[in-house]
Amino acid sequence: MSISRRKFLGWIGAAGVGSTLGKSAFAGGGKHFEGHPDSFGVLHDTTLCVGCRSCEAACAKENALPVPDKPFTDLSVLQEKRRTSPTAYTVVNKFDIPGRKTPVFVKKQCNHCLEPACASVCFVRAFEKTAQGPVIYDESVCVGCRYCMVACPFEIPTYEYDKALEPRVMKCTMCHPRVMRGEVPACVEACPKEALIFGKREDLINIARDRIRKYPERYVDHIYGENEMGGTSWLYLSAVPFHEIGMREDLGVTPAPELTSGALSAVPVVVGLWPVFLMGLFAISKRKEAVSREEMEARVQSVSALAEAKLAAAMETAQKEKTAAVAKEVQKALESAAQSRTKEEI
């Protein structure tokens, strides 16, 4: 039986390896998607922003977010770097760049990716990339698993940890209601320097390119958001390399759904083939059992046949002897009878 143990070992190993083949079988296939045509976006020219935080004020007012303790006109807040929070969909951060007279101010909020990672990972489809451009959140289905916060490469979605019954994921919605009414988002309307421009994403890219061409020394020749993570609707222009103003340049251009589509595409293969393979294993082991049982019986047969043959032979000899003995007895008896008769006669 030791073979079967080694066999068991082999099968488990093979099973493990076998299933790997299906794993990264094929990603999204040959398909390529350009995103919703004519969807809106915002171009943020960080060379114009002076960090007056009017956008933060307008955003808080529009989304009825709680008024923070420090007023929006208090610029001391800019000293340390802030991230989005459940009470602030957008924040302005100040970056002192060595060798530049004035600091660079950058507004941070949801980038409304063309292929949102948050939408791709949400297992109740609470996030949706609307045709108009904004990525909106549906609180009525959200389970609160927070996978979207793990997935977002820009660290934007935030969670109401302090709430026990109705915690929500909070993030900028590009003022989706206003956009649907044909207005511009509140922050764009509030920006005095017009560092934020709202419009169709293609137009914004052209505007950005025009600016780069007209002011070659003022801008880094790169529109952040044109290709990052498969493209975002919120585009950025900057005078300094983007990694110096807190924007990651190592995110790559693969759209988020592509990252997990490989693994997902292996699931049907496993469901399709694994049962067949396992049932096959079962059948083989059952047949092996049956075969081994038959061999057992065959051997038993052959052994018993042998035994019978021997037995039969023994029986015969015994028989013969017996008959011989009987015959002898009979003969003896006859002889004694004959003798007694002769004795009587005498």
Partner: protein, 390 residues
Amino acid sequence: MSDNAAMGAKTWLTPFNVVTGAIIIIGLVLSVLRFTMGLGAVTNLTDDNAWGLWIGFDLLVGVALAAGGYVTSAAVYLLGMKKFHSAVRPAVLTGFLGYALVVFALSYDVGRPWRLPYPFIMQQGTTSLLFEVAGCVALYLTVLFLEFVPAAMEWLGLKKLRKLIVRLTLALTVLGVVLSTLHQSSLGAIFLIAPSKLHPLWYSSYLPVFFFISSIAAGLSMVIFESSLSHRYFADKMDEAHLRENEGVTLGFGKAASMVLAGYFIIKVMGVAGGDHWGLLGTPYGLWFLVELLGFVALPSLLYAVGVRNKDLTLIRWTAGWTVLGIVVNRLNISLVAFNWQLPSSQRYFPHWMEIATSVFIVTVGIVVFRFIVTRMPIFYEHPEYKDIH
């Protein structure tokens, strides 16, 4: 039925009960706190670190260590290894309890646990790995329940119903293996979405394969580990067949674990090669990766092999414990240590003591239920009336 069944009046105040009692009380208090004050009051979770110890340990580690169920049932039913037959029921029980605890722990971590069935009934996010995991875990929980229930029915004496379910065993086993393959690998694939946050040494497109293969190793080691513990504490519950087969189980699973760990080590090295991260091995994180790889994958594989060759059961049992620890280290590495590795240490996550207490509470509940079931239901012995093949 082993004759030394229940001794005289059981005294409740054994040290074990006292400790578990205390933990459970603390756990209940924390649960109330968690569900009244929200997640923020009990955990160190922030907007940067959305997933903490409950996901990292209770879910990732819990699911991996509950893999014993499908590994043993596959070995015995699909590969026809009758000799390990006695190991099936304990393994299925551990698996079932493991998954029950996973779902129980999930209800703590998720913001609105009463909405957990929403992905199936309300709106399906089919592009999400979590949808696949949720589906498989739910299905597999029912499969494990059905595999476990004959033992309960023998205890309750429901003959006819038990007959019906026993006929499904083969289908359940196949389904169990398929579902396990899916969600064990998908737990790894969950982290594929964030290449910018997971350290390149741990991030790889093979993550699903790593998780699946290491779950096989975890299952095997867990069965050995659990059987060694059960023999220490529940020997009186075991019938003669169970005792006899235990040695074979340990050796057989030990050998399989050694091979699987070796395979796992090889594909991990290939993962590093594939990403060309050799340079990173010199960094502090690289050092920690080597500790995980060499200390918790290569070493146990070696120790298993030595143990099996010399038929040294204690070595195999200790190595099983060490491999289980290795799985814990690997899962925590991926979810907590190597995740958000770029953030400054001030924004890094470390579990709040209340989180740790809750996890300990959940594990203790598992152990108590395990003991309750084992001391009542025919897990370690065969019920006299059901000598037939069950």
